[in-house]
Subunit: 401 residues, 2 copies
Amino acid sequence: MPSLSFPTAGSLDGIRVIDLTRVISGPFCTQMLGDHGADVIKVEPPRRGDVVRAQGNIVEGLSWYFAQFNRNKRSLTLDLRSESGKALLWRLLEEADVLVENFRPGVLARMGLDDTTLRERFPRLVVGRINGFGSEGPYRDRPAYDFIAQAMSGFMSVNGTSDGEPMRAAPPLSDMVASQNLAFGLCAALVRRERTGRGEIVETALTNGLIGMMGYLAAEYFATDQVPARTGNDHPMVYPYGLFQASDGDVAIAPSNDAMVARLLGALDQLELLEDERFADNRRRMIHREALRDRLNAVIGTRSVAEWIAHLNEAGVPCGRVHSLRDTFADPQVQAQQMRLELDQGKHGRVPTTGFPVKMSEAPAAVYRHVPALGEHTREILTQLGIDETELQRLQDEGVV
Amino acid sequence: MPSLSFPTAGSLDGIRVIDLTRVISGPFCTQMLGDHGADVIKVEPPRRGDVVRAQGNIVEGLSWYFAQFNRNKRSLTLDLRSESGKALLWRLLEEADVLVENFRPGVLARMGLDDTTLRERFPRLVVGRINGFGSEGPYRDRPAYDFIAQAMSGFMSVNGTSDGEPMRAAPPLSDMVASQNLAFGLCAALVRRERTGRGEIVETALTNGLIGMMGYLAAEYFATDQVPARTGNDHPMVYPYGLFQASDGDVAIAPSNDAMVARLLGALDQLELLEDERFADNRRRMIHREALRDRLNAVIGTRSVAEWIAHLNEAGVPCGRVHSLRDTFADPQVQAQQMRLELDQGKHGRVPTTGFPVKMSEAPAAVYRHVPALGEHTREILTQLGIDETELQRLQDEGVV
């Protein structure tokens, strides 16, 4: 099978990905691969496709939620429950570098692709797998969902205010983090394949990914045996840090060490506060946090957010405005970084999505392909596989594609 | 320079990383590379080292916060402001595959390593860079910090409750996400290097990474021009979903589609609710959310969390307990997945850290090296570079190492 109809300029040019995933966790991962030049073939059930095609706001016949996760892919419909569909999947895998799936553990094996078969029949194939809890352990068969992973990873226990309940983050963090981990793992496995000639199975799980994000909160729990409290916008270990009230809104300020605290106080013309023994070092500032907060707000309340942001940045103090998503995408820096992209979706119009967070100097991410209609590339891909018109017609008649 | 004193079994075995990063965003990325077998040389300023060595709880002389981000690395002290230090860095780069830095834009160039020099003198080198806002654009020189990126990315605007203020997440999400993106990008660049023989510069930024996580929230904003509201534990688009009150605590429940909602109601023996026209489909359930919440809590309140978790999982409904970090690390699934590791740190004792979220079948992540003391491997690495005892003594006397 020839590669893409055109070579991409991306770092992963020449890598073909067979993508059996749906919803968020898998498609976000394979989109990262496609953004960087891989040839991603999204395999979807005939007629209905990925369920996300029907979710979120549908504009001019296209779900913009679906668009957010499925640019830079080709769509092939294939009924993986049929024998003909399974046979075609095997033919695809013979010419693929990567297979990605986010079924529950065991589903792929029931399609005939258990781990032993994958390794023996497709020794160079790198297999990526995302699930809820991992494919070993007592919960392996439980149904998973981002919210459950946020709850069980401990993330929710530290997200929120001290007087509120444990709280989820609005983005499906566990899906997104597991996707990023898988994209990394797949590329690491491709690096190894260059050395050894052999693929391997790479697995990430929603809960495991978020546990890996607990970072210093986990370290503090391990060190003290005390579970971290929810502290809202206050940092559990440093002060000053947080939202302060300027005359026309909040400003986020986060000096990260004593030198920056001195810069902040200098910029506020409040250096004498350091001579107040309550505020002389971070430990004492944590104890007298409310008193210091009041003192700082008394000064910060005298000028506008814009004035403070200009003034404090000038002084080298990390600070910024709390942006709504409208503010974010209108921001000149965000625009300079092209973090809002527009896809040309033909009859569906121009569709905005978020941009590429990984910038490459020689082989930058790009929009190589629009978001595919369901089965848009079925004929193209099957023809490249060597399927003739008669067989294609038969597959269509049987509802396999 | 020979590789590691022992080969690792990891996917990135044979890849040498020169790591100039400090604090969280860089060290988390390079630890991912080290976990998977790369030879990571952490370059630290003589005498003080990475500032995180002195932060968080220090147990038996070791910061467990530092340990959380610095296993699987060797430590080399080097004064990069001195001419001898810069010369040694060049020698290291001649035998390296990857350089990673998280200075502010321009700092590396002022050390003589501007982009042109890097590409010309080290054409095979892959350079990784993490900063706050990206190295182009009006904010490139602003000081950055996780909290500011959480504010400016729009993340805080959707995190929190409708009656509360925009809120940061407790883990430094922007640092962690940019690290994961960079780890992916570096490996993608290594894949390309196999094909082209040339390295490239890979950059991620704290704000860009979090913007990339806005996913369907960004899509909904683009489609409606309405900024998403903060909805706490409620999902903005589906119901039932959220925390429900069992007799002895909360249970998180998240059926993801109509079929699962029917399974949930069946398991609660409340299938007749679907005949109530207020609850017949998701759109109407969103409108009558509070009424349905009350009906569900009336049933869920009659039994314990443990009973519901067993019963609902049996029925195939995603659900779980809200875990504290103590619950998380005590959980049998988390233990089966080895998401709590213990490092043998010799005189510092056994130090727990979070485990490996990326599982590989052939070349699994492993603890190849303990968390290094400051400069622990200076002599070993310089000897491998061909520095003799006389020169080493001179470098020590001059405070360069």
